[in-house]
Amino acid sequence: AGNNLASERHYRSMPTHGIGKYKYLLPREVPRKKREKLKMKQLKPGTDTEYGVLNIQLNGYDMTLVEHYIQYIHRLCNQLKIRVEESYAMPTKSTEFSVLQEQGTKMNMEGVIQSHERIVQVSGLSSLLAPIVVEVLQTNQPEGVQLCIKEHTEADFNARFKARPELEGLMAQIN
């Protein structure tokens, strides 16, 4: 009864087996997982520094200066064989400033300024190199760019992600 259907299939012994396949000819696509994992928490040994993961944050209103400075820092770290984990940008902050008018109490909207922030994550900075690096950075710091060297925390890492109010609401409800 089912013989008709059986003869239409390309069975494994037949030469036409696998006639329609083509995906094996295409280049292999590795599925990209966009999950970034932190937790590179280094131990804090007393003697030999290896400061753990440090964040060098640059803040400024002039984007070109900030960008060039961060490139300079990156190259310097490469030269001194300091391990650079990541180099990323934080979202820009826009500030609207208004000036009080001379004749009245009305606020006159003057303009919008944007403040840019770049971060270089560095790990394994030894205690002997640290003050030298800080001095070099200080000598080359451009005007209007604020430098800030801090330890990396999970809060800093989470600040890069979008807020999820639904998730937080559900967590609050369950607890």
Partner: protein, 254 residues
């Protein structure tokens, strides 16, 4: 009206309780006060007992420890307790005042409903947690569409030969200058490292303890904030105009 209220309450109590002496003398004001208290207590069942006990204690302190247990023999200046009221209505010891408005809730369905609600919440939470968090897009790296307008594209200007030559020579000078600068900086860093090493060697020869302490990292270095130098010094007696700042950064939610 006080009297009518008293009568209706009496009739109700009559229906529920059953035995009720008909030729019963009541202090009207007292009963109205009681009714009011009773109405207040209808909303809070369990507390009726406590309030009654509290009132009892007050009455005991005021009138020498005598608490009424029979309705008939009451004194004009003594107060009623809720327990008395309950005995009037011939309620048992553990019962509360019978509530009219709320129907009785079954005890089995409640924990199941709560569990179901919690399971639903947990399922929703799991679904949301599976989705990885997204990075906030950075406006710096996104070219605005108005700059991608085709009408803005212009042909580069045509330069004379001298100008191109001048520019090429300038670039070479600049790269030479930058190379010198980079070399000087590398030299400076090397000399600093060497000086440091020499100093540490000398210190080691002096005392091992100090050397070990010197090698340790500086704890106070961490939150380091450096302000860049400025073009001009601050102006003396400068009056800044009055105004205010407002943060209008776009908040992204997933």
């Amino acid at each position: 009206m006080c009297f009518s209220d008293g009568r209706t309450a009496r009739q109700q109590a009559d229906e529920e309780a059953g035995n009720w002496p008909k030729n019963f003398k009541f202090d009207i004001l007292l009963f109205c006060g009681l009714l009011r208290r009773g109405c207040d207590l209808v909303g809070e069942r369990g507390r009726a007992r406590e309030i009654g006990k509290g009132v009892d204690k007050e009455a005991a302190t005021l009138h020498g420890g005598h608490v009424l247990d029979s309705p008939a023999g009451h004194r004009p200046d003594s107060s009623f307790s809720v327990e008395c009221f309950c005995t009037i209505l011939s309620l048992a010891d553990g019962e509360s005042l019978p509530m009219r408005a709320e129907p009785k809730k079954k005890k089995k369905v409640d924990p199941r409903r709560e569990q179901a609600v919690r399971d639903r919440l947990r399922k929703r939470l799991k679904k949301l947690e599976r989705v990885p968090p997204e990075l906030i897009p950075i406006e710096d790296f996104i070219t605005r569409t108005k700059f991608l307008d085709e009408s803005r594209i212009r042909d580069p200007p045509k330069l004379p030969v001298e100008e191109t030559e001048r520019r090429a020579l300038l670039m070479k000078k600049w790269s030479r200058y930058k190379q010198k600068e980079h070399e000087k900086e590398a030299e400076m860093i090397e000399s600093m490292i060497e000086a440091q090493q020499q100093a540490l060697q000398e210190l080691r020869l002096e005392s091992e303890e100090l050397y070990q302490a010197a090698i340790k990292r500086n704890q106070g270095l961490f939150p380091l904030e450096l302000q860049g130098c400025r073009f001009t010094p601050p102006i003396a007696n400068y009056e800044a105009p009055n105004g205010k700042y407002r943060d209008i950064t776009k908040v992204y939610t997933q």
